[in-house]
């Protein structure tokens, strides 16, 4: 039981933790307050509990594919929030007037939603053991270890990002933000294919000989760039569109539009 819960919780925590540390590093770089961190954590966990305890109702929606549709919706909203964040962060770092509250709200909301999505599954898993006190201790211990490893990976990632030079940090941070966001969009596509809302097709390739999804590398790549060993064509298409769209939007609106320049960069 112990090992199962370590692996399960780690998998779920990793994705949210990487987004969390990426945005915390961005916050630090831009000199924005960290008030959003605790709020996002609390709201996210509350949301995860509410979602998790109502999953049986949600599952019944849309002829039994409510879970997929709601999760896909959450992923799309996170993608949209990250698009806006990339745009306004670009403006902010170039010295344009951007209310700090807007940036903190975008960061907080995207992290909170990621926690809702990933945390709900942990809540459901743990709920099964509340009636089984003899197993509960080892499950909780395992979950704590899994969460601890996930948070540690996030911390390592955070310090690695902060230790880069300013220019490298901006480029790598922007690339990672784009890929994480595109990964969200591609997961939404996968969920809608699973729900039969989008057409299913043969996978484009099978790269499991290179990196298997269930390995540590596979899980890290999944969390970071949305890696799938056997992606569907539509999923790849949406991944590519998501990358181009965020670059396009942040590229156009992240630059000058005649707004007053304030130098604090």
């Amino acid at each position: 039981m112990l090992l199962t819960s370590v692996v399960l919780v780690l998998r779920e925590v990793l994705e949210a933790a990487l987004l969390f540390s990426l945005l915390m590093a961005l916050s630090k770089r831009l000199g924005i307050s960290w008030r959003w961190v605790s709020v996002a954590l609390i709201v996210g966990l509350l949301g995860a509990a509410i979602y998790g305890f109502n999953i049986d109702i949600v599952s019944e929606w849309f002829d039994g594919v409510g879970q997929e549709v709601v999760n896909a919706f959450l992923q799309i909203v996170i993608y949209a929030l990250l698009c806006l964040l990339a745009t306004f962060a670009a403006r902010y770092s170039r010295g344009f007037v951007v209310p700090e509250a807007l940036l903190t709200m975008l960061m907080g909301a995207s992290v909170a939603l990621a926690i809702v999505r990933e945390g709900a599954e942990i809540m459901i898993y743990l709920s099964a053991f509340v009636q089984l006190p003899d197993q509960l201790t080892s499950v909780l211990a395992g979950s704590a270890i899994g969460a601890g490893i996930g948070v540690s990976v996030g911390a390592v990632f955070y310090y690695a990002l902060l230790n880069l030079g300013r220019r490298a940090a901006i480029i790598i941070g922007a690339v990672l933000l784009t890929l994480v966001a595109a990964g969200m969009a591609s997961q939404a596509a996968q969920l809608l294919i699973q729900a039969d809302w989008l057409p299913s097709q043969y996978p484009v390739w099978d790269s499991s000989w290179l990196v298997e999804e269930q390995t540590v590398t596979g899980q890290l790549l999944y969390a970071l760039i949305g890696y799938e060993a056997t992606p569907a064509p539509l999923q790849l298409f949406i991944y590519a569109v998501a990358i181009l769209l965020i670059i396009f939007i942040a590229g156009i609106f992240g630059r000058s539009r005649g707004s007053a320049e304030v130098s604090h960069a």
Binding site: G64, E121, A128, P203, E228
Partner: protein
């Protein structure tokens, strides 16, 4: 340009939407075991998989090979669309009880 892309996507989706309904295959979870643990399905077709969880505890249907993941609460059922699959074996497992809940889809 963007309009044209959107239109094309909508048209492609519309074409797929009129395809015939997928054949249904059913499976049970009982005492953290899948029954049948091996499910033979036709290759090259989209399949509607209905999984009934007869246990009182939740389970999560998970398969890296099928690219599928779905929570199934206790005493409820879940609909999961899979495929089209090339002939071969596609392992799946219950993520909440991976030691016992193991199975595979065999596409022929």
């Amino acid at each position: 340009m963007l309009n044209r892309v959107c239109l094309t996507v909508v048209l492609v989706l519309a074409i797929f939407a009129v395809q015939a309904a997928a054949p249904v295959f059913e499976m049970e979870i009982r005492d953290h075991l899948f029954d049948p643990a091996e499910l033979t399905v036709p290759a090259g077709k989209k399949i509607k998989l209905v999984v009934y969880n007869r246990d009182s505890t939740p389970e999560e249907f998970e398969s890296y090979e099928l690219n599928r993941e779905k929570v199934i609460m206790g005493a409820s059922k879940a609909v999961i669309f899979i495929g089209p699959l090339k002939p071969g074996e596609y392992p799946f497992f219950g993520e909440f009880n991976p030691k016992t809940a193991q199975g595979k889809v065999i596409a022929k």
